[in-house]
Amino acid sequence: MLHVALANIKVYARRYIAAILAVAIGTAFLGASLAVDTSTRATLKNSVGEYYKTADLVAFRDWKSSAYGEDGDQPLTMDVLEAVRALPEVKTAYGSSSYAVNLRTDNDMYNAWLIPISPEHRYSGVNLIEGRAPMSESEATIDQKYAEQTGLGIGDQVAIEGAGEEGGLQEVRIVGLSAATNDPFKSAMMQLGVSEGSWEFLLGEGADLDEIMVNGTGDTAQTRSALQQLLGDQSVRSATVLTADEKVIADVANLTNGTEQLTMVLLIFALVALVVTGLVVMNTFAVVIAQRTRELALLRTLGAKRKQIRSSVLTEALLIGIVASAIGVAAAVGLMAGLVKLLQLMVPEMSYATLGVDWKVVAIPLLIGILMTVLAAWLPARRAMKLAPLAALRPFDAASVKNRSGRIRIVFGALLAIAGSAGLVAGALIESLPVAFLGGLLSFPGILMLASLFVPSTVYGIGKLFAGNKVAGKLAALNSVRNPGRTTATATALLIGVTLVSMIMVGGQSAKTSLNQGISEEYPIDLMVQTGVLDDSEVTRLAAIDGIAAVAPYEVTQAMINLDDGELDDSYLLVVDPQVLATVIQDESAIPQDGELVFTNWSYTESETAQVAGHDLQVKVSTASYLSNMITQNTARDLALPTDDLNGGAMLRLDDAVSANQLSDIVERIAEVLDVESASIFGGAMESAMFSQIIDVLLMIVSGLLAVAVLIALIGVANTLSLSVLERTRENALLRALGLKKKQLRSMLAVEAVLIGGVAALLGLVLGTIYGLFGAYSTLAQIGQVRFDIPWLQLALVIGVSIVAALLASLAPSRRAARLSPVEGLATE
């Protein structure tokens, strides 16, 4: 049957284009996610492993070993290094260290890593690019990057201050420049190379080497055991000997915990994209097989067994899976290679970025892509298998297709949806994100399984609502649900992406609003600057800055505060004018009146009065935890509390419409006026801007990742529509013959696409909003009060984009349908 499958693919190649595209994008996403991980590792290997590049073995004291630092655990000293060099199995050996020392010139001082260099032993992993290695105790090398930064060069005389109790001081001349290191552990400071003798002199006898790198004379295993033997003899009990590769892997593992999480996140999104791809593939095969009913039944009549029919269909799926996955993997590798190249070009410090592609990056997406394609074709193939030979002789009526939703699927879906929803509600009630997340994870697939119950009816209902009396609209509504299973699968693919996008939009927006609310409660002042007491001209100039609505200067005093439940020594008190303060503060409870002490809740009291400098003041507790306690100017005068010109500052309120970009400008201007560092300006507005920015960036990244799934789903819409158009060639030709204009035909198909796409987006939006609100509540309720905020504009944009994209998806199929002349169309079987 292989030749039948091949012939089918050849004949129907065009019908598979969309499916191939979808599978290719899905696998490319997966491949690229994996390649991010391997490339990060390769890049780190290239930088971390720099030091070991020429070595066979690395001996080091393993701090995870139980013997580390115990009595009798000897350090790796220069003496040990000498002993290692004396071994017959060792050709060369050198040590590395991470002692930081000071390098002094006449005017400046720099920090530097002190590296022992041995010219006889391959320069100790240091790559000299100019001059020569230090031959005596009065010579040194520095690395090129810091040579440029400091202006030091060959011939310059500098002094090195050693470290430790026995460390000495040495005058040296720079005789060589080494290449800058890419090792992230070492690149933060100057690489200062000195002779091994100097190293020991500067750090004292018994200074500890980090590692000893060894090149053997023969068999690495032999060298390794000899080295282990020697280290044991020298009582370096915590010593471990690894090959250079093993050591690099261990180091990289320490550094890549973070990237592993990144990879996990990417893989989750890749999984979403693949599920959507699966739906598109399933639909393609369902349609292609429906179109081929007669042909398949004919094969059965001619003696093909049921299994042969199925395997013929699955063979087609296999071939398509192989081709599409191969394209996808190639695209992923190409994309990553491009990104790495771009990184190398755009960011000079990342010139060591390396494309890492191992067998997993190629094999896993290839395998999963193929497997997924075959699995997605399984159900349609089963349906093909069940065809009776008689079907070949019956006229095939496209309208009579009824997909009976599997009862098991409905029951299972309902159970999942109910259990998941319960989890979602429970998660919100007990304010636990993991419980709510699990609830969402269960209920979403459950709802998707039930999609056949509500998607077609919604599509039809909305279609009828909008069609009015237009025939093309009515026909479009009918057409969009004539095969409910197909419509459901197409819409579901889009619904998944839109649900997730709108979930994070609603969740993110609610998080942003809730956090901002929390910030403004605890930090009722937009901006605050602490410097000396401001003079009138400074206040005027601040108030004149564009975007600043009001300025309230304050002074500072110190006093002992006695409360019923405790006392505060030398507590700072802000001294303010309540009328002026009221112009900048958003929270009335934080404004003191004469005779009152505003007690901000960074420490706790239940006391109603406070004794300050021998007087009783009324305590007014405020939620503003980031401010100091406050009294009025009159109170300060009455209590005879002294203020001085050095301690004071200003609180500022911003105009409502200030954006994050304008904020940084305003901060700069304030810093200019008061002649302070802009970093000394803080306040609620800064905190809000920071949080908002973080959330916005996260939302953008996640939306971008989900956009892949949405893109695949839209390919699915175009796919379903163009296959349906092929299936209905005859019917469309008939309508044309009976007087349907080309434009009407095109608009009929456009309406069909928009109905499916729009309803999927609408349902996704509703679901996503619910998930987003539950998620935000479960996460944020622990932190403080939750403010629900729905970003209507963004959600409207999602619907708009979905509808426009569905329209675009209908362009190609409807143009093809309109181009066909009625005679040709009516002649097709």
Partner: protein, 249 residues
């Protein structure tokens, strides 16, 4: 019907010098080689001829489904050759009716909606009295709510006939309208078509290769190799069969 009195005095469809060629060079087929033909109003005409004689091409061109290479076709005073696609489409839904061999009903909508489809496409209201009359003559009264797949072949074809008649078109084209029906149902449909010319004054042009079907027509046109080669008035099964046999020689 007022048209009954003017039966032979004017023409519903006229064509002059129609040519149509398919393919290029070696695959070139001249389907129509300059056909001149007129169809009188309120007459039932059958076009016959062996396979490849060009009878289907002629009908497709006359009906505005396909375009001829040259010549002119006049229906209801308009030259089809000068119309744009949209104008042609409007022409089809207002002036021309179709009955196809394989019924060709829209499967998603019921019989009533199928019958009303051309009017709905034009956004026009139908004349309920006329609708009742047509449906009554065709005996579809109790089948109107059924979807096409719930109807027998004969019933489906009667729905198609009703659809063609409802717009009171200038002409109804039939493309082997009985090809998919058994002889009894076929005879029923043909009687209905003939009745519509007699009682409603409808002009009908039918392509067929079945001498029995052709015998229901008022006149038979014979085609061969893209040209009209003969006419038979008041045809019978025997006279049509003889004529076809002589054509094959």
């Amino acid at each position: 019907m007022s048209q009954e009195t003017t039966v032979h005095t004017d023409y519903a469809v006229q064509a002059r010098g129609l040519t149509k060629t398919y393919g290029h060079d070696s695959t070139r087929v001249e389907a129509l080689k300059g056909v001149d033909v007129s169809f009188a109003r309120s007459r039932f005409t059958a076009i016959m001829g062996p396979s490849g004689s060009g009878k289907s091409t002629l009908m497709h061109c006359l009906a505005g489904l396909d375009s001829a290479d040259s010549g002119e076709i006049v229906i209801g005073g308009k030259n089809l050759m000068q119309l744009s696609d949209d104008q042609l489409t409007e022409m089809r839904r207002e002036q021309i009716g179709f009955v196809f061999q394989s019924f060709n009903l829209v499967p998603t909508i019921n019989a009533r909606e199928n019958i009303l489809l051309p009017l709905a496409l034009a956004g026009k209201k139908h004349d309920e009295q006329w609708f009742e009359q047509v449906v009554g003559i065709l005996g579809l009264g109790d089948r109107l709510a059924h979807k096409p797949h719930e109807l027998s072949g004969g019933q489906q074809q009667r729905v198609a006939v009703a659809r063609a008649l409802l717009t009171r078109p200038e002409v109804v084209f039939g493309d082997e309208p009985t090809g998919n029906l058994d002889s009894r149902t076929g005879a029923e449909v043909l009687s209905l078509l003939r009745a519509s010319t007699r009682e409603m004054g409808q002009t009908i042009i039918m392509v067929t290769h079945d001498p029995v079907a052709a015998s229901y027509a008022d006149e038979v046109l014979l085609m061969k190799d893209g040209q009209l080669v003969g006419r038979l008035a008041e045809p019978t099964v025997a006279s049509v069969t003889d004529a076809l046999t002589s054509l094959a020689e």
